[in-house]
Symmetry: C2
Subunit: 339 residues, 2 copies
């Protein structure tokens, strides 16, 4: 592990004018601690995962989802006075993080709301594939009715052979989420109770590569939709003809992180009349879009080609499809699917 702790590395990245001070000093370290604790719970959850094999799996809520949500809520309550509300994909209502007395006692000058999918990828927990946590951090006490610019940071926790995290922060005063006005880090988590104390920054600038690409990857989600949509089928055939490499775990976190780590990738989850939109704007699409754009990529809605981060969140249960990853590939998908 590095000599400098992650917490002080994060503080070193905070804007000099003091904005987002709590984000760097308490919120992000607390989220890393929670991811470490969820990783630790998962590592011994053999029996819980086994229950999932009973063919009632799919999108059913598992015990490990509930456990992960509890870890996140408890950690925020214990360590983040400035996070005043939180909502979860498992319980999509914004609720106070602190008791009323605690909230009055602390009265944060700047406050945040956090929205998370505590354990994304429930269908691949039983076979022991990599799964993840998705989390977005918004300025102010609510995300509802807010434009996506209010989401100032996002975190992906990755539970695999190791525990890693990707953290993206849009710097203050910027409405864009590009490399010049944002930070995107990959973190390697240490083990134990307070992961942020013994974690390290693996890469201080996670960036999708510029062409030419050595290897091009595609992740075709909801592939059954290609049976009903000839444009999606033609897109997939085209990837094969062009020699793209297939990597598709079915977990949104590992699939997106694969592209970020390899430097190239396009994730395609279209929506058709027969297969409805499943991805949640608040808990999945906004955080993923911020991370991908802070890494130099693009994230759009395949229904109309609009940029995910150009939206205003209308409600916690809004859903849509997703195309994200390497910008020029996303543009090509937009042309292909909206032709």
């Amino acid at each position: 592990m590095s000599v400098t702790s992650l917490a002080s590395q994060l503080q070193g990245l905070a804007p000099a004018d003091g904005s987002y001070a709590d984000l760097f000093s308490s919120v992000l370290p607390a989220v890393i601690d929670a991811i470490g604790e969820i990783a630790s719970s998962l590592s011994t959850a053999h029996r819980v995962a086994l229950a999932g094999t009973a063919n009632t799996f799919g999108d059913d809520q598992l015990n490990v989802d509930v456990a992960a949500e509890l870890v996140l809520r408890n950690t925020l309550a214990a360590k983040c006075p400035s996070v005043v509300t939180a909502s979860s994909e498992e319980d999509p209502v914004e609720k106070p993080v602190h008791s009323e007395a605690a909230a009055v006692a602390t009265r944060p000058e700047h406050c945040y709301t956090v929205a998370f999918d505590p354990l994304d990828g429930s269908s691949i927990i039983a076979p022991n594939w990599t799964v993840g946590t998705i989390l977005g951090i918004w300025e102010g006490p609510t995300a509802v009715g807010q434009p996506a610019e209010k989401q100032i940071a996002a975190v992906l926790g990755v539970y695999g052979p190791r525990t890693t995290a990707v953290v993206a922060i849009r710097l203050p005063g910027s409405s864009k989420a590009d490399a010049a006005s944002s930070i995107c880090l990959e973190i390697g988590l240490g083990q134990g109770q307070q992961a942020s104390q013994n974690s390290e920054v693996l890469r201080s600038s996670v960036r999708l590569a510029a062409p030419p690409f050595k290897t091009r990857y595609f992740a075709p989600a909801n592939l059954r939709a290609a049976a009903q949509d000839g444009r999606y089928m033609a897109l997939v055939s085209n990837y094969i003809q062009q020699g793209y490499t297939l990597r598709y775990s079915g977990g949104l976190v590992p699939d997106v992180v694969h592209a970020l780590v390899k430097g190239h990738g396009v994730y395609v989850s279209p929506v058709t009349a027969q297969s409805k939109a499943k991805l949640r704007q608040l808990f999945e699409l906004f955080p993923i879009a911020l991370i991908v754009e802070c890494a130099g990529g693009l994230a759009i809605d395949p229904a109309d080609g609009s940029r995910i981060l150009d939206r205003v969140l209308q409600g916690t249960d809004e859903r849509a499809g997703l195309v994200c990853g390497t910008a020029e590939d996303v543009e090509a998908v937009k042309k292909a699917l909206l032709a």
Copy 2:
């Protein structure tokens, strides 16, 4: 963890006539210990994995591969007097496990050779996806020149959010690897130095399901080959039209284990003139085939449709393609690709 240790659970499965006694009492527990130790190494190998992102990745040997091989060789040397030789995908030559003096001192009545791929899935280590160990255990001091029946057991170690293993044993006196004459277990590993001491059997009978199937899965490996082979492209289109669910991590261990845990799946890795056979018979195909057939499935060579386990191993570096999983799906692939 269960009250009864894994070691005694394994001993309880040993044939009453004393055959394979060492396999159950020392070889399998030692392999589980080694898998636990490899998992522990991987969990902190952030920097080593990072080296893999330098685009020299692909099939290059990584440091973690070397570390995993050392763990396996050292564990066999320390704990398994009956394992006299071992070979590895990283170093495909059968070598003595014990020093000459130690070998003379112990003189096992029954001896074994072990062949393993210490860390399969090097291309997906950097993005923190699940990877695995593949291991076959053969009766006698060599696998070369031996029929596949001499491979009496196989183990897959699965390094994901948890550490799990699938163990298959073909019982003595049987040339077939079906459910009646074999054992196939899923094990959940505990943490710490001697994983076999605090591991537990999660499922004592891993079985692919019989039709009708609730969800059908396909894993199309080497999909670029579909650009050159219209039959493979037609097969993939057919899966999409029939509503199969795509799961393809690109790691042989997680892809096969997905099918075993879900109860259905077909893994297809064809070989064409332009894309050569990459999978090693000794280190990958024979162990995978034994596991899949002990779970009630089928494993064939797509070049001629022959059963992998009907072969005699000619050399440690032999390679081929693979179609394996649910038997009726494998038969359908055979017809489609050899049409």
